[in-house]
Assembly symmetry: D2
């Protein structure tokens, strides 16, 4: 930690500050410049309250130079993590497409879509059983019944399933789920992160609407620090003033997360844009930006979807998109 | 719901759309203009997926005119709700100051601060026992022990206590807590909202960092729809590009929430700004904007606070502030 | 314009409102619903102050259904506009890469870079002569001398030149410039837009940091309404809370602008990210999203660039990128 | 400037970097820590491209510790600047209210309003003659005729006038204007800032919709560096995701600007909120936050205002507000 003092600081106050740091067991390296004095703290500075120090009258600015995230940090783990879901691999050059409807609605619906997305090239089946909804009066998903229908679709197609968990109390129901999704609204539900950290299953962690990349990585760290290193990061759009799309897809997060972390990074263009006709261009763009996979909403009857129909592709559109994604993967990999 | 069709729409497609709405049990009022046709839907349109309709090729735009929030809506409940906590009242002309440290650290600390803030005019004691922290390696609060210390401080001073609940599983520990705070990160933790909706205690619901006023009200609706009408709304800063303060305090939310809802609205200038020397001007501004109360961090030893010390007032500063707040209340009420 | 009145509106006030509209020469179509009354205005509603109407006590909401932008609107001009700069075409399936240094520094520098980017496949040479800088103490560009050096580079390579104009008073100096760039900070400098609208040259209009797509199109409309239809739109990142990149590149703007307008849309990944190693992935992503061109900073000596060196590619990196861009173009066009 | 190198940096590359800084005439102070090496640069670092250094492979982070704004900086000018406009003073304990219509429409209108706001306690008359409008098809103001009408209103009431300048070419018309306003969209129109810097008149500089406080101060620095020290800063709302108000009024900017700069700071609650019934609470809040003045839209016939009518107060409402503002000033000053 580097602390720049204000010019002309009182020597007594400066000494008090240095004594305080030394009391905390830290070494203090004092560098006297022409304009100002700079203190360098040596040792475990994780207990130092940076904002408190910054607020002191004699301090001009503070900079922390040690890393706050460790297990997900590429500096300490240079090779890409590859997350395995059955035979499917994600990360480290392996690309996976997760496709399916926003909500599981019926056996017929989910089995049909599962077959269609599999034929078109999807590697995993996604579908919501527990649905976070802004309004208490909106459809909240088929819940346990929805999970049972997803399992039937898995048996029929062999596709592993990805579905969202909203509450600690529902964890026992998710035993047969292959990948547990933590939604954007729960990215900082720290108790939930700790509990899924105790599982061995892959966790798909979505970035919150107003969260920085560092906060996303700290949330991954919560999961990993509890023992589960199978974390997949997901960019799904952030909230900005821009009003034509539901959210603003931040694709520069893909190469930046790859630089900061060894974890795989996928992109959800369906929720980010909220508009079906933008899903294909944004899926292609995400692939070109180096994403390790995609999460795409596909519905075989958009006119009657119970939720989010406006952002779902039809199976035919999805099949066409999957082909182009593969072609772009070839360009990127060479 | 009002649906403007694109100019020159195909008559067959228009009929299909109208038939589809009628199948759903809705009346359709067709208004043919010089430039375009507009459909008005009559009946319970809550099941209509507005985004789906908006995405249809023949549709130009959709506008929902019925209300999505009901129980917290001032239209259906014109008088201010007054929330009572023991003898303290909040809302409807009653103003309350909640003050205390970010974290409960020790019996001596919390009892001393409680006495000081009471003497200075605080109406409730706030203090964190369960602390949401971005990093899994940061101090997470004294938890159950912290709650026990808060109760001691309550016995010593008579001040009701306000403290944050982060997980459904901890609810049994909160039996003696007077006001349960739901933090900004949990504003859309819908399972937690439903559970505190089953309690009878007042709930202090903080606005999320990237949430609209409508979303805040929908989260209040989750609590109220489960049976608990004692909800206090709290503005605590939103995340913007502005980088001098931790968040941007959105004070226009105060009069706007009062217009939309009958629930009391308080403001937390400490977390919003993150800088102690901005707390007083922002507390005065919030009072002038018509807030029903304030949540203010006070610490008797900011240099050694375990977290967020940079934003805490000392008891003397708080006492001075409380006096000015009262003077502004007098100006506002006349 | 559609105006939903509040439920239970006073008949006298409703009549006053209708009379007021009729005085303005508008037809009013009244539709009485079970819950509320809706007014539809017919005629030229462009003079109606939507916000004023929205603020009236008896009005619940207002929606404008006619278009505010006309000349750049795809509805009234379905085919893509193709902008020609010498032999280079942009839009309607034609893709152009504009490359070069942030600032023109010397004849040697600009001629060398021009040759290198031409060899690597660039179609136009970009370089700043007039530089908008946040600080009055920073380097402001070589100005007229910089324009002269750009012309030399054009003579040597045949590449048309693109450079930024900041002030009406400098227009006479830009006679030999092929494409005039209006920077993000001047996107709503309406006097400047009007003046370049009187020229015949192509105008590259960059989106402002906090501007919506509609505002960008309205600024294009300022240029077109003054007689110049050769406008190229440019997405260059918007300001959000996200702090890892300088700005957040909003790539969904590309397909959305193509839907709303017939004008060509290019992307500037260099200014958007501010980090050289993110330029290539974002350039590829922009191409995959359907952009009609790219604006890329290339410098032959990034260590000594006078400004923005951190975001410039070296010529070798640019050449490699140009090849991949072409490969992605092939995928997209099929 | 403090540069933290990455751990385990190659000695040769480190030496190259140090040599490069020394070539630029800077002293380099090398501090070798247990984890990493930190370089402190001594001398005039204003020419060092911080982003370039930050992007170098061996560099972890860079922090600039010297100030980038000088003339408007409170560190170098501790006393408040008081701007005088005739007999009116703004700043340093002097509070001024600028009131009037969005647009000057006719002699009768502007003279009547001027008389009414003067009677209610306004200190200056504001009114738009040149109007920046998003659409080229909207009313752009009465221009020179509007300025002439403002002068008549000044003669009738004695109130000094404040009005917006949009273009360098119009400066000769503004000779009799008392305070020149630079609007939010022109906050970084650097040529315009330089030109008004050559005048002696007070300049009211509005914060741009997406500009930081540092950028606002750098724009003030442009004016001051050209010789005009009479700058008044104005907070008028920033663009955020929040959608109930037109912009989000950032009132914490008031005390923060006062800390960073000696210039007076006023607030415009009318444009910030865009809703007349929020103007009074926000004006009171701004006063309580310590603003040195207010800019308030007042119209004597909001139903027929040509623009922005939705945000204008009627004279009676303004008179009531002015009284409360004075009462809050009394609380704040004691």
């Amino acid at each position: 930690m580097i602390i720049a003092l204000k010019p002309g600081v009182d020597a007594v106050k400066q000494k008090q500050l240095i004594d305080w740091f030394e009391e905390m067991g830290l070494g203090v390296h004092t560098s006297v410049g022409s304009e100002r004095t700079v203190l360098g703290l040596i040792g475990d500075t994780s207990k130092v309250d940076m904002e408190l120090v910054e607020s002191l009258e004699i301090v001009d600015s503070v900079k922390r130079v040690s890393e706050t995230f460790k297990m997900c940090n590429r500096k300490f783990h240079p090779e890409d993590t590859v997350v395995s879901v059955g035979d499917v691999k994600i990360g480290g050059g392996h690309f996976a497409i997760m496709a399916g409807p926003c909500s599981v609605e019926s056996e017929k619906q989910i089995v049909e879509i599962a077959k269609e997305v599999k034929a078109a090239g999807a590697n995993l089946l996604r579908g919501g059983a527990f649905k976070p909804r802004t309004s208490p009066y909106d459809f909240q998903g088929l819940k346990a019944e929805g999970l049972a229908l997803l399992k039937i679709a898995k048996q029929e197609t062999g596709l592993p399933i990805v579905t969202e968990l909203m509450s600690i109390t529902d964890i026992p129901l998710f035993e047969d789920v292959d990948v547990i999704q933590i939604g954007a609204r729960n990215m900082q539900n720290f108790n939930l992160l700790q509990e899924v950290g105790k599982l061995k299953k892959p966790i798909l962690l979505k970035r919150g609407l107003a969260n920085t990349l560092k906060e996303l990585l700290m949330s991954a760290e919560y999961i990993m620090a509890n023992g589960n290193e199978n974390v997949i990061l997901c960019e799904r759009g952030i909230r900005t003033y821009s009003d034509y799309t539901r959210n603003t897809l931040d694709l520069s997060a893909v190469p930046m997360l790859h630089e900061l972390s060894h974890l795989p990074v996928i992109v959800d263009p369906s929720h980010a844009t909220g508009i079906a006709r933008l899903v294909s261009p944004m899926a292609l763009a995400a692939t070109a930006a180096g994403a390790d996979g995609l999460l795409i909403e596909v519905h075989n009857d958009p006119m009657h979807a119970l939720c989010d129909g406006a952002q779902s592709l039809r199976p035919g559109e999805f099949a066409e998109l999957a082909e182009r994604i593969n072609a772009i993967r070839t360009v990127i990999k060479t």
